[in-house]
Amino acid sequence: MNNAIVRARKIIDNYNGPHMRIMEVCGTHTHEIFRQGIRKILPESIEMISGPGCPVCVTPVGFIDEAIMLALEKNCTICTFGDLVRVPGTEDSLQTARGKGANVKVVYSPTDAEEFAMQNPDKQVVFLSVGFETTTPSNCIAVKNAIRDGITNFSLLTANKTMPGAYEAMKDSTDLFLYPGHVHAIIGTKICEDLVKEGVSGVCAGFTGSELLTAIAVACVKYQEGRPFFVNCYPRVVTEEGSDDAKAIVSEMMEPCDAEWRGMGEIKNSGMKLRDAYSDFDARKKYALPHIDGKANPACHCGEVLKGEIKPPECPLFGKVCTPEHPVGACMVSSEGACSAFYLYGQG
């Protein structure tokens, strides 16, 4: 173990402050916390809660239904990240829709989808644009590329989300946030400082075992002082200002909108959609999609899991009918989902 880990473990092992609930908001954090076995070394007085930070998990049922409608009724080719293919919609997932004739192509970046559209002018290509501040800029770049290349058979079905909305919705469910380093590398840390003024504490963390443990140790020290705090424990990547380039392209092309989060309902101004100037690339407008209210499996407790109200094993479906091979809820599909992490690391 390196020195930073030894120091952090000493602080954590000796923590004797009040009970502290730390919500990791980022799916990559969730996964890494399990992979490193961090939950197992924490004293009882420190509790980790997995929040709503996996973009696949919070994508609402209706979004999958919209994608399937585009594929089956509007004859579009859907390009998507692989995780989304198995996420259940109201009746079908994109995977089962394939069996009914839906064209679904897995890509690794939105620009690949744009290139695919350019190479296949006879196909109407729709990219499923999900993700947080880290992913949204590349979705905008794909649209920019489409304009540059003069292609008209490419559009986005957007369900992009922003973290500050989630913080606002979740701030009463936790004592402090473990802020996601990647997101704050883009948006900076001003939002975290502002939340301190509202009495919301947090630490911003990187993704290695050492970085995560250090951030938790810092939280232990600061939490005992009894005042709201924010500490950037990932300064080699995260700055106060964030990335101006990434923020500029997003604000040029997209604007905030209300957004539905799976299991959590609508959160005001927590989503991003293309501005009117880019309507030709907005699949909802281009194909005049009706509003679809998706219906989640009523037995699925993903919503409570995403809000940190229950732990995955408390869901009656967990590990029985809902497994990574046969997921009922989105949190079991994505490798970043809390249910999937609990299941894979044997903590059911």
Binding site: C26, T28, H31, Q36, V56, G82, D83, G131, F132
Partner: protein, 334 residues
């Protein structure tokens, strides 16, 4: 001969024999390579091992190797895992119409070089041509027969509590190399395959340490999958020390970016070995004497508890379960 493979090369007539003469016979010629319907071979003295494998990798040429080298190494290494000296191999090609003859020659040339490195003879072959779009370039099947060393007694069911768990080099390179060669991710990194025939180090290892209980080739599914197989077949637990698992910096960088676990990425020149812990030092020093196994290291041990499971001690000093294999490898999206 034409520059590309046509359907006529698979029709059994003049062009088929031209292909066999100019490409295959040229490279695979030896005293047992036959024009008859089957080759006639002297029988080995002891017990035999036999195995078969098919190769459909895309792309067919990648840094450090190609599908031909892979097709020889895969079967040679499978035989080696049973302590069997590879003697004879057959190979069957399914070639897509339009495939370049010059590429086929490169593949055959690699096969010849790799086979002669090991001393295995290619004794029979088959060629079929599939129509354009029916197969991706070239598919190869190889079948091999080997003679088991008198001292060898290995099986995935023979792991015992107290055994040391060894890998013969850094892991996950072939899988990472292929991911990068497919260019789906837009990542530039130099990762060459670990593809190598391992009979020579295995022969030396078994001669020096006949108590080796398990040897297994960590190909598709990687070292993690192999460990779960052995834990289950032997009814034991396996404890891994993650800090001891050798991973090249370039592989760690790429897999870190994509959120992939190197323990689940394919290797094509790495074996997992189990032997009594007191013999581990000797085994490692024998393996380290060979170029392709010079990175051999002890990565863990066999336990009598946690049967069927692989537990890992992590960077922060905690213990956690290595997730069971079986899920599709998906790069993370944020």
């Amino acid at each position: 001969m034409t520059d590309t493979i046509t359907m006529a090369h698979g029709a059994g007539g003049k062009q088929t024999s031209e292909l066999i003469q100019t490409v295959f016979k040229k490279h695979f010629n030896n005293e047992y390579f036959t024009a008859d319907d089957a080759s006639v071979l002297p029988a080995p003295k002891g017990k035999m091992a036999m195995t078969t494998d098919s190769f459909i990798v895309s792309p067919q040429f990648f840094p450090g190797g190609n599908i031909g080298k892979l097709a020889i190494c895969g079967t040679v290494n499978d035989l080696s895992c049973m302590g069997a000296r590879p003697l004879y191999m057959t190979c069957a090609f399914v070639i897509e119409e339009g495939f370049k003859v010059s590429d086929l020659e490169k593949i055959a040339d690699s096969m010849e070089k790799t086979a002669s490195e090991v001393g295995v003879r290619l004794v029979a072959g088959d060629t079929k041509v599939a129509g354009k779009g029916q197969c991706g370039g070239v598919f190869i099947n190889t079948t091999g027969v080997g003679e088991i060393l008198p001292k060898a007694n290995t099986s995935g069911a023979y792991a015992k509590p107290g055994d040391a768990v060894i890998v013969t080099g850094d892991i996950g390179r072939h899988g990472t190399c292929i991911l990068l060669s497919r260019d789906d991710y837009g990542i530039d990194a130099e990762v060459t395959t670990d593809c190598a025939p391992l009979w020579k180090p295995v022969e030396a290892a078994i001669k020096a340490v006949p108590e080796i209980h398990v040897i297994r080739d960590a190909t598709r599914g990687g070292v993690g999958t192999v460990l779960y197989e052995i834990a289950s077949e032997s009814g034991v637990g396996i404890h891994l020390d993650s800090s001891k698992v050798p991973v090249a910096d370039s592989v760690r960088g790429v897999t870190g970016m994509l959120g992939l676990e190197p323990l689940y990425l394919a290797c094509e020149g790495r074996l997992v070995m189990f032997c009594p812990s007191e013999k581990a030092g000797e085994l490692i020093s024998v393996l380290q004497g060979f170029e392709d196994t010079k990175g051999a290291a002890v990565i863990g041990s066999v336990t009598s508890d946690m049967k069927g499971r692989v537990v890992m001690s992590t960077e922060i000093g905690a213990e956690t379960l290595l997730p069971e294999p079986g899920n599709e490898l998906l790069p993370r999206i944020c």
